[in-house]
Symmetry: D2
Subunit: 334 residues, 4 copies
């Protein structure tokens, strides 16, 4: 960690800060510039409150040298992690196609969609049983019944299932789920993350709407430091001023996360854009950017079937997309 | 709700959409413009999935006419709500000064600070027992012990206590707390909100880092629709590109929330800015913007005492700030 | 345009507003809902001040039905525009590879890089002669001499040249340039745009750092409404809270702009990411998202040559990238 | 400047970088940590391309120690600058009330408003003659005629005039203007800034919609380094994801700019919020945050007069606001 002091700081205050830092077990290198004094701290400053030090009157700024995440840091683990998602490998060259409806509605619906996405080349089935809804008046999922329907669809197709856990108290209902999804709004639900760290289930961790990459990795760290190293990161769009799409898909996060961490990184273009017609171009772009997988919503919704034309992501369109994505993967990994 | 169709849409698709909307129990007014057809929906569209309708091929855009929040909507409840926070009124002309340390550390610390802030004019004591921390390696609070120390400080000073609940499973530990705080990261932890809706405790609900005012109000709605109408909203800074302060305090949210809702709105300038020296100007600005209260961190931290000069928010500085805030209130409400 | 009135508005004020709107030449459809009255305006409201109407006491919100841009609007011009950039077609299925150094430095440098990028398959040469610099103390380009060196490089390689104009007073120095670039910071320099509208040169218009797609298109409209229809749009990253990359490349802008407008859309991954090692994945992603071209910085900088390894974008790396981009284009357009 | 190298960098590459930095005239302090090597650069690194160094393969991150602005830096000029705006002092304890209509429309309009705001206590008159408009189809101001009408209003009231210059070619038309305003969209129109640096007129420099404080100060630096030290900074709202107000007024910029610079800082609540009814609370908040002045739009617009009630900012409402602002100033500066 580096601490830059303000110009012309009082010598005594400076000495007291240095003593205090040494008292925290750090070695302090002092380097006096023309204007500023710079303190270089050697040792493990991870327990130090950066904000507290930065808020001191004599301090101009503080910056970290070492990233605060360890378990998920590529520096300490150069090889790609391959997560086994119900038997399907994700990461380290293995590309995973996850598809399914937004919500599980009926047995017929989920089994039909599961068969269709399997035929189109999907590796895993997604479907929401517990749905985070901005409004208390909106449908919040079939809950335990939805999980049961997912299990039926798995039995029918052999596709492992991915579904979202919202409340830590529901964890045992998920005992039979293959991959537990943590939604964007729960990315910093630290008690939930800690509990998942004690589990042996793979976790698909979505980036929060306003989370930095460091915060996403620190949340992965919560899970991994508890002993569960099976974490898949997921970019799903961030909140920006731009208002034509629901969120802004930050695809540069894919290569950047690969540089910082050994964990697999997948992309969810459906939630990022909020428009079915933008899903194919953004899914292909994600594959080209080096993602380890895609999570895509596939509908057989009657309203869409009724009103939509060639642009909606019906099963046959997903099949076409899946084919193109595989070709792009070949170009990228050649 | 208003649905604008794309220019030149297929007549048959348009008819099918109108039928489908009518089937949802809505009356549809069709108005054909030169280029666009506009559908005005009358009835209660709150169960309708706006995103689904907006994603249809023939739809150009969708916009709400009626806000989706009801319980907290000023239209239906023109009078200001006055929340009773452990006997202290907040809102409707009653200004609440909440102060205390970031974390509860020791009995001596919390009692000392509690006495100091009371002397300076604070109405409520804040202090963290369960601390949300970005890193799993950071101190996460004294937990139940911290709550116990807060109760001691309350007994010594008479100040009601405000403290954060993170995990729904800890709710019964909070039975004796006066105001339960929901942190910014939990603003959309819907299961926690629902549980608090069944409680009779006042809830201080902080705006999420990237939440719109509508989302904040929908989260209040989760609590209120469960029967608990004692909600205090709190602006605490939003995440923007601007990097000189930790977050950007959005003070225009104060008058805007007052226009949209009857709930009291307080401001937390400490977390918004992350710098003690910016707290006094921003606290005064919040009072001038019409806030119903302030939540301010007051430290008696030895490092700060050691190194900081006139700018740190020590108890005597808080007293000075409280005095000026009261004078500004007089000007604003005159 | 749709104007939603607040619930319970005064009847007389409502009548006065309707009369005023009719006086502006608009036909007003009034539709009274349970809570809100909605006014639908038919006619051309483009001269109306949306902000003024929206700020009226009785108005709840205002939303546009028709986009305010006309010349660049795909509704009125369904066919893709193909811009002729010094003889090189851009858009409508023609993919343009633009490459070159950030700044023109010496004749040897620009000619060497021009030959190298041509050999790698570039169609146009870029290079800055007038450089926008945040600091007045930084090198701001070779100016007229730089333009002269670009002309020499064009003569040596046959590549048309693209270079940035900053000051409207320099326009005649650009008489011999093939494509005039308007930088992100000048996207709303309206006098410059108007002047370019009177020119017959193709204009490469970069999206501003915080510009919406509508604002970008309105800036294109400034040029086109003056008579110059040769405009190429360029996505180059937007400013968000995310701080690992310099800006956030908003690739969903590519399909969205294609939907809204008939103009070609290219992507600049170099400025968006600010890191050479992120350029290849983001360039491939842009091609996969359907961009009509790429503008990439290629260096032969001695410091980079000295210190960088396999990740810097040296000419041979650009050649490799260009090859992969062409293969991705084949997949996308198949 | 501090350069942090990646863990395990090649010794030879490290040496070459150090040599190259020394060759640029800098002294390099090397400090080897457990994981990272940190280079501290002593000397003037302001001509160094931070982005170039940061993009090197062996470099992890680069951070500045010394701010790149000099003329406007409070470190080198601890006393507040007092700008003389047509004889009215701004800054250093002098609070300036600037008011007037958005656009100059007629002689009667501007003279009427000028007299009204003068009576309400305004110190300077604002009014737009050259108007930046997002759309080429919108009214762009009366131009030279508008300037003439402003001069008439000044003659009638004695109020100095503030008005916006957009095009550097119009500079001589502004010879008789008291304060030249540079709008948010032109904050990085570097050629315009340089030209104003050669002028002797006070410049009111608005912060760009997505500009950091450092960028704002670097733009002030363009003017000041040319010899014109009469610069007033203006916060007018930044672009964020928040969509209830037009922009988000960043009031913490006020104390932060005062810490970084000796220049006066004023606030424009009208453009920031876009809603007349939010202007009074935000204007009072700006005064409480320590601003050196306010720029407020005062209308005598017939539509507003027709439809608006107590919330519009008519002259009598401005008078009431001005009175409260003066009282808040007394509390703050006591």
């Amino acid at each position: 960690m580096i601490v830059v002091l303000k110009p012309g700081v009082d010598q005594e205050k400076k000495e007291r800060l240095i003593q205090w830092l040494e008292h925290q077990g750090l070695k302090v290198h002092v380097s006096d510039g023309e204007l500023h004094t710079v303190l270089g701290l050697v040792g493990d400053p991870s327990h130090l409150d950066l904000d507290l030090v930065g808020s001191l009157e004599i301090v101009d700024k503080v910056s970290r040298v070492t990233e605060p995440f360890k378990c998920c840091n590529r520096h300490f683990h150069p090889e790609d992690t391959v997560v086994s998602a119900g038997g399907v490998p994700v990461g380290g060259g293995h590309f995973a196609m996850i598809a399914g409806p937004c919500s599980v509605e009926t047995e017929e619906q989920i089994v039909t969609v599961a068969k269709a996405v399997k035929a189109a080349g999907a590796d895993l089935l997604r479907g929401g049983a517990f749905k985070p809804r901005t409004s208390p008046y909106d449908f919040s999922g079939l809950k335990a019944t939805g999980l049961e329907l997912l299990r039926i669809a798995r039995a029918e197709t052999g596709l492992p299932i991915v579904t979202e856990l919202m409340d830590v108290r529901d964890l045992e209902l998920f005992a039979d789920v293959d991959v537990i999804q943590v939604g964007a709004r729960n990315m910093q639900n630290f008690d939930l993350l800690r509990e998942l760290g004690r589990s042996d289930k793979p976790v698909l961790l979505k980036r929060g709407l306003a989370s930095t990459l460091r915060e996403l990795l620190m949340s992965a760290e919560y899970i991994m430091s508890g002993g569960n190293e099976q974490v898949i990161l997921c970019e799903r769009g961030i909140r920006t001023y731009s208002d034509y799409t629901r969120n802004t898909l930050d695809l540069s996060a894919v290569p950047m996360l690969h540089e910082l961490s050994h964990l697999p990184v997948i992309v969810d273009p459906s939630h990022a854009t909020g428009m079915a017609r933008l899903v194919p171009p953004m899914a292909m772009a994600a594959a080209a950017a080096g993602a380890d997988g895609l999570m895509v919503e596939v509908h057989n919704d009657p309203l869409r079937a009724l009103c939509d034309g060639a642009q909606s992501l019906r099963p046959e369109e997903y099949a076409e997309l899946a084919r193109k994505v595989r070709e792009i993967r070949k170009v990228v990994t050649a």
